[in-house]
Subunit: 685 residues, 2 copies
């Protein structure tokens, strides 16, 4: 792996398809040099305004003149789960709206389309000038909220100040937000997630990981100015293509000390926590088919994250990764130290980041035991309770002085979550809360005052039962009444779950404040210096780490060599039938009836999945792969196992992005599902 | 649960069926008072010498004049696994030797029958008199080895000095050991472990968790002086019955401080480690049916332990448990403090135990990362390597000065394991070693010198591959040559796995020594005082915690009330067919072909499983349940979920032992498997 790792960003000169670039700074020249493709401002605006961010945590794109949106099945699975019941399981059975009238409204989801970007770094930093690190951190957050609130003048718009370069830049992102979203088509999960957890992050693959939604405005399909057209021919091996989407988070610009903290503390404990959740969700699901259904979506999500963390852990233990990072850091520091002015301004930053890591180690167990200080304790009713309790406190203050997520600009999303009609299952709530309480005790010890307060003199199970069976928060009207009634209504409610979170909230807030002051604020200030040093040394040719905001990646369709094996770029429909024969009898390799019925008639040479060398990461799920004309040739749904190091460094040797081929999507819609209305809308045929 | 917990042992006056009693101190009077059954010395000797301990970690009994041994399928599963291959999977298919000649030799297994018990406390303690705690600990271990060696005069005998009452007593147990063991009958795991991990520790149950082995001597079936006869009628609800077996470990006599250590450190971290292993074994098993087969037996074992630890964790967080323990401890301490002589002698002991817990907290992560100081790192070849390395060192010393498991009396078992012909799968070795290396780094940090030495400048995966693919230790002849050749042969071998463990052994030994000196020795000395105090206050009516040595428990067949539900004591064959219909399509509820074929003809009213209130724990698996006549009425294979608190306290309210009914065993052998030879041998019919 050594040769594969580029020591970022001093190695950017190397001709690799690296980078998740923001739309205000696309690497137009590099792309032209490498592929002879010149991206125009018009092309960029067109694809920017055709891309959507899905509030369930993924990407998508508008793909018709009537507001049709394409994303992944696994991005929409949260929606499908909420629309499902014991009698009607959309994850199992799939869904197809034969007519427009059959399209069904999706709960709790909104789609954002990026409208504009503005650099507000100077305003944010001006607020922090001359303050202590913790005060500066609070002042920056206040300024960010104030900027968001001021910009949020028009209804239907959403604003966010985004922290780029770990604190090196602050940009105001303004989005058009769409809230009436309906379900059009989803395949069965058995083909969407063919091969299950075992094949996740593997290749070759055979997954129809697609779902179509539609944006509505005023009760009618939305007619967008910009949408992506469908490629008739797909992409060829070696062809230059682009991925436009919302990568969630990378940590490539972290200092070595910061990476050591991740390696020795954060990643092991997150991985361990995910493994624990995986076992517990399996236990809950074993009781009956219905408990299995209830836990399934969470289980997929946990297994997926666990695989990501397993890959990160392995990457962080690879000496090649640290060697490259150390080399890059020492080169940058040497360049800074060689210039007296730079040295005076920036050379202390690396030690400041290191000090922040030492600080968090001393209280991270408490912070984690209290759900990051926000009492995220697994049970939805506990999350609802803490949201209500904090909402009552925060709304007393001016917007800019509140906790960030309670600022005016953020409130619509907060209320959408708070009033979500998604079903809540008491048994599942009890189970999750029991284990969150146990976890608190396991982390802090049974005699810790916080644990004693949380358990209230009962066993974890008995306490969880008492709280879940006693709360009224499953009733949406109760939530609304309490949200509107403020502190007084909360006190009068005498709800055990509310009293429970109230008892823990003071320490939760204190831990969060400590984290924000001692760690986050210090990191932001120090990374701002490091970013300035990078820009001074390297110019603008540095992309920021991923922040779940819109990025463009460039690259090509490319198979790869894995050990002795040459892995081809494409799979086809024939491959999934072969695989099903080969692994007959195994749950996750069993094809749904639709595919076995269609077996005699489908064209087995239809391309199904493909790999490209684009630089992507979790959050890019659902991103369109487009060609130089801006036409859809694929749909990102995964990376291979070698791509998991991508959190820390890009590699193009074996790391690949995995997509559904546009020809496979249309082929399946037409020949397996008979979804003619949808095929016509996509292709005009 | 509060009322159910007996505060041990001051509450022994309460009329409950509590206790795992040693055969030198059976509660004959209590049994007679409670059930009117008088156990004679002859009866006790008869059942003692009919009971066997299985080296795979369970119990069993001799049940015919021709050395037939009954145990659980899950006790024998290790044997079945070693006898299986991709082509011939005995766990899946079961096994039945239609004739004596078809019985197949079992690798790596021996059976021990307890022959005599001798109190050697005075000799062990004499060796420790006047020494510092750590020296005293070493001296006691030396004395124990010397006593074992001296007693091991006759071939075919095995000796062990057992630490009872956490150090309050030392007894020499002498066993007859049998090493030629053959497989007679095993059902399919789908009926032996019906309901899988989901139903494990649950009730009602429907498991044929039985396997029959046979002891051979000089190539012929063994003809024992003592064996248990088969009951024609089984047991009735409420009938007084006994369990004779080898409970592995309980921690009921631990001090409150010791239990707090378990609650806050040992149990959470063991539980977490088991959950990690469970996820990793699932990952390994997903790759193909063959990897699933390879990992299956380990996965069962890990899931079973995980369930035990989940139950322990829940129990330790139940305030009722600690309240009872605190009450018992303060009563005993009050009684000690009330007597000036007792006070002077014993009152400091509780603080000494507490100090030992504080000590271990400071180095337990290192100890665990190094596999308890013994480099048990998941890979069999690493275990073989460390055994060879230490063997070479230890054999240079007199027996009594060696590490305990290298003493002369222990060597036969050690060589049996070292030369085991059980298959070793390189991919599985690599996977397990990779994750043990990763675990070391996760626990200690990537820059720890030990981690750096272990990884040797490579990623965990690359290092594991290098070691496993480079070692010659999969070859049994190589192991024999190296074991016989000592240090010189080891150095000449230039085997990477041997060099790997050598590099870590110094710290491994140092950590083990530290544990034995600072923790174990201190605990033993302190618990000896606490035991003396208990005996002084309570007389002999105290049973020692379980130590994987022979015990007798008394009790009765009894259903129980669980919430609203009355759980009946017995299930029957009809129940398993109903269950299979109810959970149709789920892997673990699918009956094997033998049972579906037999469905029309079996007598559905045949009792299948039953529950009793005997005091048992892990290790009791395979114990016979016998009636007052000493006849077999059942076969222990599990406890229900409520019994998991049994590690810390006995309860008879909802906690139950779960057995296969003797009538179900014979019914299945006759009507499902047509195993007439075996039925005749058991019942004479």
């Amino acid at each position: 792996m050594l040769s594969a790792l580029t020591a970022l960003p001093l190695a950017l000169a190397a001709p690799v398809d690296e980078g998740m670039w923001t739309f205000d700074n696309p690497p137009v020249e590099a792309i032209q040099q490498r592929y002879g493709v010149k991206l125009t401002p018009e092309w960029l605006e067109h694809v920017q305004k055709s891309a959507v961010r899905v509030s369930t945590g993924g990407s998508g794109s508008i793909v018709s003149a009537n507001g049709l949106v394409m994303t992944n099945h696994h991005v929409a699975s949260d929606i499908l789960d909420k629309l499902s019941s014991a009698e009607n399981n959309l994850l199992d059975a799939g869904f197809w709206a034969a007519t427009l009238e059959d399209e069904i409204p999706c709960p709790d989801v909104h789609l954002d389309v990026l409208w504009s970007i503005e650099d507000v770094t100077a305003r944010v930093e001006a607020a922090a000038a001359g303050l202590s690190p913790a005060e500066a951190g609070a002042a920056r957050m206040s300024a960010m909220t104030a900027i968001e609130d001021a910009a949020k003048a028009r209804p239907g718009m959403h604003t966010e100040v985004v922290t780029l370069y770990q604190g090196g830049r602050y940009h105001l992102y303004t989005y058009r937000r769409f809230e009436d979203i309906r379900l059009v088509f989803a395949p069965e999960k058995s083909i969407a997630f063919y091969g299950g957890d075992g094949d996740n992050f593997e290749y070759p693959r055979f997954c129809l990981d697609v779902t179509f939604l539609r944006i509505y405005e005023d009760g009618e399909p939305y007619t967008p100015e910009h949408f992506l057209t469908w490629s008739a021919d797909g992409a060829d091996e070696g062809e230059c293509t682009f991925v436009v989407g919302h990568p969630g988070r990378t940590q490539r610009l972290n200092t070595v000390a910061h990476l050591e903290y991740l390696r020795d503390h954060q990643v092991p404990s997150s991985m361990q926590g995910l493994m624990r959740s995986e076992v517990l969700l399996n236990i809950f699901g074993q009781a009956s088919p219905e408990t299995a259904r209830i836990a399934e979506n969470d289980l997929f999500s946990v297994q997926n994250s666990r695989k990501v963390y397993v890959g990160r852990m392995a990457g962080l233990l690879d000496p090649a990764v640290f060697a490259a990072k150390r080399q890059e850091e020492s080169r940058l520091r040497a360049a800074v130290d060689a210039n007296p002015e730079w040295k005076a301004r920036w050379s202390g930053a690396w030690d400041e980041v290191a000090a922040a890591q030492d600080s968090i180690v001393s209280f991270r167990d408490r912070l984690n035991a209290l759900g990051g200080g926000n009492l995220r304790l697994g049970a939805r009713t506990a999350s609802i309770a803490i949201t209500l309790v904090r909402l009552a406190d925060e709304l007393e203050k001016p917007s800019a002085e509140r906790l960030r997520e309670y600022g005016d600009a953020a409130l619509p999303s907060l209320y959408q979550g708070l009033y979500s009609p998604a079903p809540i299952y008491p048994d599942y709530e009890i189970f999750n809360l029991e284990w969150a309480l146990s976890n608190m005790a396991e982390q802090l010890g049974g005699d810790d005052p916080l644990v004693i307060a949380a358990l209230g003199g009962k066993s974890a199970r008995a306490r969880a039962e008492e709280l879940v069976l006693g709360t009224k928060l499953m009733d949406i009207d109760v939530r609304k009444r309490l949200a509107n009634g403020g502190a007084e209504a909360l006190a009068a409610a005498n709800d055990p779950m509310i009293e429970f979170v109230k008892a823990l909230d003071a320490e939760g807030r204190a831990l969060r404040k400590r984290y924000e002051g001692e760690v986050q604020a210090v990191e932001r200030a120090a990374y701002a210096k490091i970013a300035a040093a990078r820009f001074a040394v390297l110019g603008d040719s540095v992309y920021p780490d991923a922040t779940f905001t819109l990025r463009i990646s460039y690259g090509k369709v490319a198979g790869y060599q894995d050990g002795e094996e040459q892995i081809p770029a494409f799979t086809n429909f024939g491959g999934v039938y072969s695989k099903a024969r080969e692994r007959a009898g195994e749950e996750w390799y069993t094809l749904p009836a639709s595919w076995t019925t269609a077996a005699p008639t489908v064209d087995r040479s239809t391309p199904f999945n493909l790999v490209t060398d684009h630089d992507i990461i979790g959050g890019n799920s659902g991103s369109p792969v487009i060609d130089a004309k801006g036409e859809v040739v694929g749909l990102i749904f995964d990376g291979n196992i070698h791509s998991l190091i991508g959190n820390f460094a890009y590699s193009d040797v074996k790391a690949r992005s995995v997509s559904v081929d546009s020809r496979g999507i249309v082929g399946a819609l037409r020949d397996v599902y008979g979804a003619k209305r949808l095929v016509r809308e996509l292709t005009g045929e």
